[in-house]
Symmetry: C2
Subunit: 342 residues, 2 copies
Amino acid sequence: MKKSVTIRDIAREAGVSSTTVSRYLNQNGYVDAQTAERIRAVVEQFNYRPSRIAQSLKTRESHNLALIVPDIQNPFYSSMANKIQNLLLREGYTATFFDSGADFQREMTCLGVAESIGADGILFASVSSRRIILNELERIGVPVVMINSYDACPFDSVHGVRSESTYLTTRHLIELGHREIAFAGGTPGTAIAQSRKNGYLNAMQEAGLPVRRDYLIEMGFDSESGRKCGTYFSALFQMPTAICCANDLVALGMLQVLIERGFQVPQDISITGVDNIEYGDLCSPPLTSVINDSGEFAKMAVKALMERLRGSYTGAPREFLIPRRLVVRGSTAQPQRKEQEA
Amino acid sequence: MKKSVTIRDIAREAGVSSTTVSRYLNQNGYVDAQTAERIRAVVEQFNYRPSRIAQSLKTRESHNLALIVPDIQNPFYSSMANKIQNLLLREGYTATFFDSGADFQREMTCLGVAESIGADGILFASVSSRRIILNELERIGVPVVMINSYDACPFDSVHGVRSESTYLTTRHLIELGHREIAFAGGTPGTAIAQSRKNGYLNAMQEAGLPVRRDYLIEMGFDSESGRKCGTYFSALFQMPTAICCANDLVALGMLQVLIERGFQVPQDISITGVDNIEYGDLCSPPLTSVINDSGEFAKMAVKALMERLRGSYTGAPREFLIPRRLVVRGSTAQPQRKEQEA
DNA sequence: ACAGTGTACGAAATCGGTTACATATTGTTT
DNA sequence: AAACAATATGTAACCGATTTCGTACACTGT
């Protein structure tokens, strides 16, 4: 089909061998200034770009990474993906993008593809950090950075302080005077959902507050799950005065249902999220949340992987903790339960 | 570093030549049933996956596409990216992801990288459909599908009916009785912004309504632009009774500022968006918008590109129009200007 | 018995780069 | 003047697959 111009074409045209052209392009070995100039001119004239594929085959480095996220439509991940791609471009790397849909089987599929395309490394926001996944990663044998995957694993990992996010929001609710605090959680069985639940439980326990069975439900991490949880809570005989949601999407879905059903937020009920996504601020009332700095995640993940790729770090797996910060907005306030009961 | 298992390893282990293994894997040429079984077993035992890189070099097909979007954080594009990636995976293709940040220079950079990595095709949501870009695409010489790029171009393209989206929202506002309708537009100089502006202008003209200079401003396609426009409009001596925004992000930013400044939406002022993103529905008031079906975009774009890649279509550039539909929600209502003036 | 056809498999070239090794010229040191 | 290092370039093998061409055998029909 399309015949590309090769290094040998350039060599012939410049009257040198392909070796010399290669040396010129990679700036290694000696090449005379005049020769270099001749090559440069020919390269420009022909708009020559060396084939990354051929390079990869020989050097055994594809300069391409696999980026696997559970849900690119989640603003946290789309923002992170954007930043990762920017950082990588600067380093001369590209990213092959995968959306696993938070599904274990698809995660395995993506890993298989990642291997066959010869990815030099994997940036993996895995939800199902099952043993099989870890085994598969080890078998593939390229550097891996796990993102938001709290389980102990033999790879570098980047995540917020375990359980800190919902701990912060729950404690905030407690400090406001709430006692009946419910939790609307993410996909059961995933490490990150577990961590968020624990944050809630820890804060409750620390304050000596009881956790009611029917105040703790887990669905998923998207707004649809939030709507379902909202429907559930609003139908309870005894509603909580505050709900700690596993992330902002859940909180937004929840908010919508509650407002739809005539509840006032935060007067009747307070809501918190996690991630501090843009839309949480755009809504009314704006969402109290926890900053999960996707840029920081991207930076650390890329840095860690690059160090592994360059071999400038070869030690034990590292854990990078991204600091978080509570952002109080309009969706939380002191409880007014007494009046309602009267 | 990591020595991969090659087709020759498999061949040796199975007691055949690499040719036969290749024939077995690609299901072309004859291979004895028993031999096939032996090979299958060895392949499984060694967990062998042929190197896509070596395949690409020889066959001159990378089975990898470049996907370039202006802003992956825009829910329309992140949703589209998700769906595109899913469709491609099924076809045995991968996508290298680029976020151009709606910047011309970066678009050029991305195209250069796309060429050197040997992308078989390009899915390109270009904002700056400048001549240079088109020339560069033609020079690269691989199939291209342009997305949301309205200018006439020598490639297949996928987009909504030109100017239809804002035409629908503006007409909706007019039918509600609004006469003082402003427009908050997207990045000036881009084809899509031009198209959105035209939709507004057409509807206004059709209804015989005058367009005031100070009611027409263009900033960008993100929520920050919406906030700026909102600040501008809310400071006007004579405020419009409705604002037609170029997309939902702009509308959401606008909404936030207006509510912040004490305006009631839709009582004091009506707001419309375009794209029907999830968050537009989650906010209050929920946003009147126009459905821009990202799944349909993804489907048509992938289909068109695949046909080009397979050579099953080789004719003139095609234009795929995705139908749209107005979704009326709480952010629009009849104007109540008379009372306010009194 | 022989040509023709379908089946089964291998040797070797090839894709477009990189690189180990060899060669040649020039400059510098002893 | 001989020895050595630095500079400048080329030859050819190689990365891991695919593919052309060729060989060999087993049928089948005449």
